[in-house]
């Protein structure tokens, strides 16, 4: 079936087999491999993307559900292609050593962006609670929590030059 949706700010029209999770559509058809698959029970959160602005697990979202929607993946977060400029949340993860092996990172960053969008000034406890659906095996979460706290501050600052 043909679906039309906005992917990372650009309209896309794709012919998909309905029984296709969005993870497969992104990774196999559209070559956007930044969205990762870490489990098969919708528990790990590595595949988190923004679906109409909400953080959702793309392994548990069917491609046909994208029709008419707006999807943002990790590849679309940092803005214009060809630029190395990071989103403030990505920058905060870099600055606070909020990643090690990098596998959970896209899902963590997308969850964090959605969290801060809903709650611009979260407490540490709110951040920890907000990350309950994202597993990380490397960091012990400490620096991820610090990153999200810092990212929240940065996201609320007016961007320089804009």
């Amino acid at each position: 079936m043909i679906i039309k949706f906005t992917l990372n700010g650009r309209s896309r029209k794709v012919d998909v087999e309905p029984a296709t999770p969005v993870t497969d559509l992104l990774r196999e058809t559209l070559n956007l491999t930044g969205t990762h698959v870490g489990c098969d029970t919708s528990q790990c959160g590595a595949c988190t993307v923004l679906f109409n602005g909400d953080a959702v697990k793309s392994c548990t979202l069917l491609a046909p559900s994208l029709d008419g929607a707006a999807l943002t993946t990790i590849e679309g977060l940092s803005g214009s292609s060809g630029s190395n400029r990071l989103h403030p949340m990505q920058e905060a993860f870099h600055e606070n050593h909020g990643l090690q092996c990098g596998f959970c990172t896209p899902g963590m960053v997308m969850t964090a962006v959605a969290l801060v969008t809903r709650n611009p000034a979260p407490t540490e406890a709110e951040v920890r609670h907000g990350l309950e659906g994202n597993l990380c095996r490397c960091t012990g979460y400490q620096n991820i929590v610090a990153s999200v706290m810092a990212g929240a501050v940065a996201m609320n600052e007016p961007a320089i030059g804009e």
């Binding site: 698959v37 870490g38 790990c44 990098g102 920890r128 990380c136 095996r137 490397c138 979460y141």
Partner: protein, 795 residues
């Protein structure tokens, strides 16, 4: 040069950008032209005879390219998956080493054992064919626990392995220990279980294999911590291929923790199958598949006894352990509960006599091998638990008892009674630092506040030492290692003076691209941004043993340091020529070669340029180019150590244990990048906390099924389970590594289980509790509290 970023600084990581922007390159991201997909058919039974496999129906399904089974493996005369260690029992005989076929032959020995490999044009077609494959099993009774496995009436996994006993291993002076126990004023005893764990790196295992008939050449992309070792084991011993005809690539790897430091059957099968179908084949494990095929960790049942004199001085320590190996010997399997366990039982104490007996046992479970810490957390847990038991029984303060028995800083180097000689350390310094950082003095007030709220609060201490920086090859060889354990590095200076490092360790989260660049920046005075680190490809990197055992910085970093030194030596020769001075008059500092006592100098980049444009160059005595390689084999293990303090609160109504505070003061030697070291400690500590409070791999005793086979049932630590931790370093320098480094990858996991459980037991001590097995789940703690209350009521 202004952007030299050297040792002790905390530059942000060079590798972050690709991961933060979704541009990492993990095996599952790799696509090859005309690629087909593979699925492994795995045994649903823990123990069964394979009566027959009928491929007919499955082969007829659309898209199916091949179905390979154990019979095909045998027909091609392929080898068994090798074990890298051959240990010997107390009787001097070698361990029992039954074959580990890459696809089961005649029998399956655990749920998840591989039966067949199905290759089809699409993943969906491969799955359909895998489901359709007809396997006729004769189901046998399984045995999953070590206590049951060694009973005389237990089912046997292998006909020629009586009592399922792989090896009855011992270490230490049994007679001295027996004599010391006779003199003891007090003997503390403890029985415990070290729970089975599943490492679960967030990236599931995956592999892609491709065969090029024109070159008779294979390429394997695999989620491995040690691609060169995979190539050697697979090519030389399993598939019997010329090693130079095989390239193994381990690109970005999403966490390892030991789980990816073995040569897995899947790697050999897919490489072998790629030639048969002559198309690239991709296999990516589901998480559910990972649970029943990734090698598991820990799983010990232990009895320990500690003999003390009337002042609490440790006289002797005796440990008897049954260690679960699972259904086959994995790459490092038998080494973990023996050589990486017994020698650590001295801890940071002066115990003069130690004896350890380990029975290594086969069961119908996933093979058990190294998981972060590997043997050393188990040893630390036994020792630090029994010290608390002894302290409680002798009514000596737990901290004071530890102080009385610690090795003094000036007593190093210290030869333990169990093989190893510690080169340096300061256990007391770590302990005192941790007491301060944890505000141990304020604990009683916090405990009183908890009590007012109806909660139990506990404080737990654990000291530890680990042997890491694996490993001195000759020493390891005496213990049974069948390979070398050195590391190699090449420093390739480009004509512009920028540097590419080719190193045999593998970066899968440890920050090597940053840390190693700092070392080169520091040594050669080149800009941090001008150094790139290459790893994980046997066609690019000369050789290497990979990353595990907290060895990358210790052994790989040493090789890198040595190779950098060689570059400087050659650079001085070139500089001497260009500056018309004697070689011995050339000084090198911060990227500048200069003639001592003059203002004549050449920059590092100028020297590099001269090496590659050798017009004015001593070609008669010196080769052009500037590239040096070094192999480094350590002369001893390194011995990081430290003190961890956990503070927990128990809600007696639900039995829930909450980790309230965690403090670690660790001696990891020289710190290259403190930000990265802290990150390693955080992650390591939480894996140990996971073992203590949450994680448990549980098998059904009757069916042999893994009951905790998904994240729904295997509890991984999550952000909202944990507090912020305090981690500090209190370093003494390693005396035998070039930079004084000791390693930090595993320390967190080694110190933390005992600290947490000691805190839990402390919180329950008023109920007469002296031990709690891991994980301290709410149900278990509630049950303990209930039983204690009933017992107190009965008394």
């Amino acid at each position: 040069m202004s952007n030299i970023i050297g040792i002790g600084k905390a530059p942000r990581r060079k590798e972050d950008f690709r991961f933060l922007t979704g541009r990492g390159n993990y095996v599952a991201d790799v696509k090859r032209p005309d690629m087909v997909f593979g699925v492994f058919v795995r045994s649903p039974h823990a123990h069964a005879v394979i009566r027959g496999i009928d491929k007919t129906e499955a082969l007829a399904l659309p898209g199916v390219q091949a179905i390979l089974t154990g019979e095909d493996v045998a027909a091609d005369g392929l080898g068994s998956l090798p074990c890298g260690w051959g240990i010997h029992g107390a009787d001097g005989l070698p361990m029992k080493e039954p074959p580990f076929p890459m696809l089961a032959q005649g029998k399956v020995r655990f749920v998840g054992d591989m039966i067949a490999f199905v290759v089809a044009d699409t993943l969906r077609e491969a799955r359909a064919a895998a489901e359709c494959l007809a396997v006729d099993y004769e189901v046998l009774p399984p045995v999953v626990g070590v206590l049951e496995a060694v009973r005389s009436d237990a089912p046997l996994l292998f006909d020629d392995v009586p009592n399922n006993l792989c090896c009855d291993w011992e270490l230490g002076d049994k007679a001295a220990v027996t004599a010391a126990f006779r003199k003891a004023a007090h003997v503390a005893r403890l029985s415990l279980v070290n729970n089975r764990l599943i490492g679960n790196p967030m990236e599931p295992r995956a592999a892609i294999a491709e065969y090029n008939r024109g070159r008779d050449h294979y390429t394997l992309w695999t989620t491995s911590q040690f691609p060169h070792v995979v190539r050697f084991l697979m090519a030389a011993l399993v598939l019997k291929l010329p090693e130079q005809k095989v390239r193994v690539v381990a690109p970005d790897v999403g966490g390892g923790f030991g789980v990816k430091q073995f040569h897995y059957g899947e790697e050999a099968v897919i490489t072998w199958a790629a030639k048969k179908v002559e198309r690239p084949i991709k296999w990516v494990a589901d998480r559910s598949e990972g649970f029943v095929s990734d090698r598991h960790g820990r799983d010990h049942v232990t009895e320990a006894e500690l003999a003390l004199d009337e002042n609490g001085k440790f006289l002797a320590f005796k440990v008897t352990t049954l260690a679960n190996m699972g259904g086959y010997l994995s790459t490092f399997g038998p080494n973990i509960p023996t050589n990486l366990y017994g020698p650590l039982l001295s801890g940071v104490y002066t115990t003069p006599a130690i004896y350890c007996n380990v029975k290594v046992v086969f069961t119908n479970t996933v093979p058990v091998d190294a998981y972060r810490g590997a043997g050393r957390p188990e040893a630390t847990f036994v020792l630090e638990r029994i010290v608390d038991v002894a302290a409680a029984e002798m009514k000596i303060d737990r901290v004071e008892l530890r102080r009385r028995n610690m090795i003094a800083r000036d007593a190093y180097p210290y030869q333990t009674p169990v093989l190893v000689e510690y080169d340096s350390g300061d256990p007391l310094g770590c302990l005192e630092g941790a007491l301060t950082a944890a505000d141990a003095a304020g604990f009683s007030a916090r405990k009183a506040a908890s009590e007012r709220a109806g909660k139990f609060r506990g404080l737990g201490f654990s000291t530890y030492v680990e042997a890491c920086g694996l490993a001195p090859s000759r020493f390891a060889g005496r213990l049974g290692a069948r390979g070398g354990l050195y590391e190699s590095a090449t420093v390739r200076v480009h004509p512009t003076g920028q540097v590419t490092v080719l190193i045999g360790t593998h970066n899968h989260g440890q920050g090597h691209e940053t840390t190693f660049a700092q070392i080169v920046s520091d040594k050669l005075g080149v800009p941090f941004d001008g150094v790139d680190i290459v790893f994980g490809d046997t066609d690019r990197v000369q050789f290497g043993m990979g990353t595990y055992g907290s060895r990358s910085l210790v052994v790989g970093g040493a090789a890198l340091s040595k190779a950098s030194d060689k570059v400087i030596v050659k650079g001085k020769k070139i500089a001497a020529h260009l500056l018309e001075a004697g070689e011995h008059d050339i000084q090198f500092e911060a990227g500048v070669f200069s003639v001592a006592g003059t203002d004549r100098s050449k920059s590092f980049a100028e020297i590099a340029g001269a090496a590659y444009v050798p017009h004015n160059y001593p070609l008669e005595v010196l080769e052009p180019g500037l590239e040096e390689q070094a192999y480094y084999d350590p002369i001893n293990f390194t011995y990081p150590g430290g003190c961890h303090i956990a503070e927990i609160e128990i809600d007696p109504e639900t039995g829930t244990v909450t980790l309230e505070k965690y403090t670690a003061v660790d001696d990891v030697g020289t710190v290259i990048n403190p930000m990265i070291v802290a990150g390693q400690l955080h992650g390591g500590i939480v894996q140990g906390v996971g073992q203590a409070l949450f994680e448990n791999a549980v098998y059904d005793e009757v069916s042999g099924q893994l009951l905790s086979g998904s994240f729904m049932d295997y509890c991984m630590p999550r952000a909202d389970h944990l507090p912020n931790m305090t981690v500090e370093t209190h370093s003494t320098l390693c005396t035998h590594t070039p930079m004084g480094v000791k390693g930090c990858g595993e320390v967190g996991t080694i110190g933390s289980p005992a600290a947490v459980i000691n805190a839990v037991v402390d919180a329950l001590s008023h109920l007469g509790i002296h031990h709690v097995d891991m994980p301290a789940t709410p149900n278990r703690i509630w049950r303990i509290i209930q039983n204690a209350a009933m017992q107190q009521a009965a008394e």
